[in-house]
Every structure is written in C-alpha cells, then in structure tokens.
C-alpha cells in the first residue's frame, strides 16, 4: 500500500468514547488542532447503550442518562472544531506518528501529542459449555437491547452482580425479557444497593455464593447448572440445580485495552483492582513517554463519569504542554478536574480504585 501524504495535528486521540471526546473538547477549546480516530462507525463509545441515570453530584451530570451525555459530548466536540475519523482503526504508534487504516488505505498522521483512550473489553470466563451460542458478554447484550433494539434471547441468567450485571439485568426486564437469576460467586452483591434493589423488587433473585458449573444444549444454549460455592472455591456436593435459560450474560469485569500503549513502549503497572496491566502515568495522565497520554478505562476500569474527567485532564495537560495556554490557568483548570475525580472515587465503593490510583502515582514519583 502507498501511504498518503502525511496529515498533521497537534493532538491525536485514539478512541471517541467518553474519555476521548472529553479530551478532544478540552484540547480543541484551547486552540489545539485536534483529531479523534475511532474504529467504530459511530462515536460515543459505550455511552449510547447506557440508558440509566448517572450517579454523582450535579457537576457530574447526575440524574442524566448516558446517551444524553453522549449527545452533549458530540455536540461540544463539533462546536469546538474537533475533527473526527470514524471507521478508522489505529494499528500502530511510532513516536509521533499514528498509523491508521481508513477506507481500506494506510494513512499516517503526525501528532505532537497523542492521547490513548481505547477503553476496555469484557472478560470471559470458562466453564463447560461457555462457548455455546447464547453465552455472551453482558455489554454485548446491553448494546443489542438498547442500541439495536434486539433481544438476543428470552430467558436470561446473569453471571456477576457488579454494577454491569445488575444494570443490564434491569435493562433486560425493561426490554421485556425474563431474568431467571443473577448469580454471584462471592458471598456478597458486588454493585450498588440501589441497582440490586431494583431487580429484587421486580422479583429477580440474586444468588450469592453461587456459580454456573456448566451450560448445556444441543447446538445452542438450553440451560445452565448452578452450584453453591463451598470453602476453597469448590462446588458443594449435592448443591447443583438447573435453570432453563436460553441466554447467559457474563458480567465478570473488564480489562483495559492497552495494546497501543504496549506497542509504543510505555511502562506498565499491574493493578488487579483496576483490571490488569495499565500504563504508568502521572497526575496529568502522561505516560512514561512524554508525548503520550492516557485517559479512561485504559488507565484502570472505572465509570464513564471518571473517564470523562480523566479525558479533560489529559486534554488540558496536552494543550498546556504545547504552550497553547499559560501554565497557571492550565493548573487552575486541572485542579478543578482533579477535585471532581476525587469526589467520584470517594466513599466505600470508590475506596479500592482510589487506593489503586494512588499507588500508580506513588510508583510514578519513585521514578
């Protein structure tokens, strides 16, 4: 393939989800020529399937539904003059060059600063029968019912009681499906009480200390066997029973999509609480490579609200490092964002993430 003439931008952002769009808006607002590249046909990342109201305070757009926040971001990105390439896959980062496959052609974009905001992907879990059609990611179910308005099955079992498992179970009920049970191997429900209460009120049992031991069916899922988790993680003898589910949702966590940061040569930290290996970064979201920033789930799996704030931080920092804003005004803007991020990580549910993030910053400080 013959490469096109080089395109030049101040800031190139990989990923048009909440973090990437928020980063683009802040960078562009401060005068940076900004390009967002996304492999999908539509921008917004996973925001448009999030039909529930967000939590947090007023300044975090609490009470606003995910897709409304998505529309607002797209609107702001357009108003601030952000360029967007959709259906365009970034497959390589080479110092300040971004390699993109676009319309079947190889394009290279020159970028003074790069912000990687590629998000995360859902984890799979293996059990006998877990590859049968009908066993799928909870996020995939959510996209099907809320974005494409298609129910992938009729009778669901959800594995995992974190917020994703609870929210998608409730949204399945809203879409007219039956949810037979939410199954949780740990002894307690993982997600927020309000989400758990909503599905319990609707009559869906949340079975803690329980797991799926196998899925079965002739060519497609016809049922699952559940078992109680005894001490040592073994299934208690005689505890197995079956449910006639035709679809299983797996809501067992996410892993940061960090391939581009690995490829570029960023240093990494292993943080189980944040979903695995994440690029080491400072309080400006800058990685160990001075021209590469990260924001959103790639820096540790959290929520869309946090992803947007991290995106803003990276966008302001990137524009600041290019000398587009004076450093004192950039500092003021960044401290406001950092204060809001702290609020999002406050309370008992934020504690694990707060501690894990603080560890990353202290590792950075140790050099």
């Amino acid at each position: 393939m013959v490469p096109d003439k080089m395109t030049v931008y101040d800031v190139v952002i990989v990923g048009a989800g909440p973090a990437g769009l928020a980063a683009a808006i802040e960078a562009s607002k401060r005068g940076a020529r900004t390009l967002v590249v996304d492999e999908n046909g539509k921008p917004g990342g996973q925001l448009f399937k999030q039909i529930h109201k967000f939590f947090g305070s007023h300044e975090h757009r609490a009470g606003v539904r995910g897709y409304e926040i998505g529309r607002q971001l797209l609107d702001d990105a357009e108003k601030t003059g952000v360029s967007t390439w959709l259906d365009s896959a970034v497959h390589g980062l080479f110092e300040n060059r971004v390699a993109v496959l676009r319309e079947g052609r190889q394009k290279t974009v020159q970028a003074a600063k790069i912000i990687i905001a590629t998000g995360a992907s859902e984890n799979a879990v293996a059990f006998p029968g877990s590859t049968l059609p009908g066993v799928m990611g909870a996020g995939a179910i959510q996209t099907m019912i809320n974005v494409h308005r298609v129910l992938p099955g009729k009778r669901f079992v959800m594995l995992g009681s974190g917020n994703v498992g609870l929210i998608v179970s409730y949204q399945l009920l809203q879409a007219g499906a039956e949810v037979l049970a939410v199954v949780e191997a740990l002894p307690a429900i993982g997600g927020y009480g309000v989400h758990a209460a909503k599905i319990r009120r609707a009559g869906v049992p949340i079975l803690v200390g329980t797991t799926i031991t196998r899925a079965f069916g002739d060519g497609r899922l016809e049922g699952v066997t559940l078992g109680s988790v005894a001490s040592g993680g073994k299934v208690a003898a005689g505890s197995e029973r079956t449910l006639a589910a035709d679809t299983v949702g797996l809501a067992v966590g996410l892993t940061p999509l960090a391939e581009l940061a690995w490829m570029a040569g960023c240093e990494f930290v292993f943080s189980p609480k944040l979903g695995g290996h994440v690029p080491l970064h400072d309080e400006n979201m800058r990685t160990t490579l001075p021209d590469i920033y990260v924001a959103g789930d790639i820096t540790g799996v959290e929520e869309a609200s946090t992803a947007m704030e991290e995106g803003r931080l990276a966008g302001i920092a990137a524009a600041g490092s290019l000398g587009l804003v004076d450093s004192s005004s950039a500092e003021i803007d960044k401290s406001a964002v950092r204060r809001r991020i702290e609020t999002l990580r406050s309370g008992p549910f934020g504690e694990g993430r707060r501690t894990a993030k603080a560890e990353i910053l202290s590792k950075w400080a140790q050099g």
């Binding site: 039909i51 049968l132 990611g137 996020g139 308005r149 298609v150 809203q174 497609r220």
Partner: protein, 105 residues
C-alpha cells in the same frame, strides 16, 4: 425478537427495511444495523462452526474483538458480523453447510 416498546426509550423507530440472504434464506433486516443484530432478531444464533471440531459459535463480545461471530459476506470471509452494518442485498453465509475439512492435527 425486536424490542418494540420501551419504558425509557419509547417505541422503536423502524429504519429502512432491506432484504438480505443468509445461507440461502431471505430475511428482512434494518439497513445499517449490525448483521449480528439482524440475525438475532430472526432467532438465528449460530453463526459458524469451528473448523476442527465443528462446535457452534455465536455472538460473544459484540464489539469486534473476539471474532466468534465471523461469517462470509458477499464472498469476503471472516467478516465480524457484530460490527458490520447491513446493506441491501447482502449475501451472508456461515460455514454450517460445509464439510469439516481439517481433521485433528
């Protein structure tokens, strides 16, 4: 099955309906929706079988990463149906009718 009515999102807005062929059978799909959504709406859940052991596979991740849902579209093999939009007249084939050519290694 389509989600026609929804307490938050309201009634489904039906886009332009187009015909596509799936393993020789004509189905009606919404233009621009992912091929996988069109198949699921018709109750088609098995998108391929694995070449070595003939095990069925369907949509898993829905974001174009796992490749479990790949099919042949207009003669192009290994198309990720969860992220490929429907166009009028598409010819979509699984490998369900093919012989398994590769025995165990």
């Amino acid at each position: 099955m389509r989600v026609e009515k929804h307490p938050v999102l309201g009634d489904r807005e039906v886009g332009r309906l187009v015909a596509v062929r799936v393993d020789g059978r004509e189905i009606v799909a919404v233009e621009g929706e992912p091929i996988a959504a069109a198949l699921l709406a018709q109750g088609i859940r098995v998108m391929r079988k694995t070449p070595r052991f003939g095990e069925p596979r369907g949509i898993f991740c829905g974001i174009g990463r796992c490749t479990d849902c790949i099919m042949t579209v207009d003669g192009v093999p290994n198309v990720r149906t969860c992220v490929t939009p429907v166009r009028e007249g598409m010819v979509i084939t699984s490998n369900l009718q093919e012989e398994i050519k590769h025995g165990p290694r």
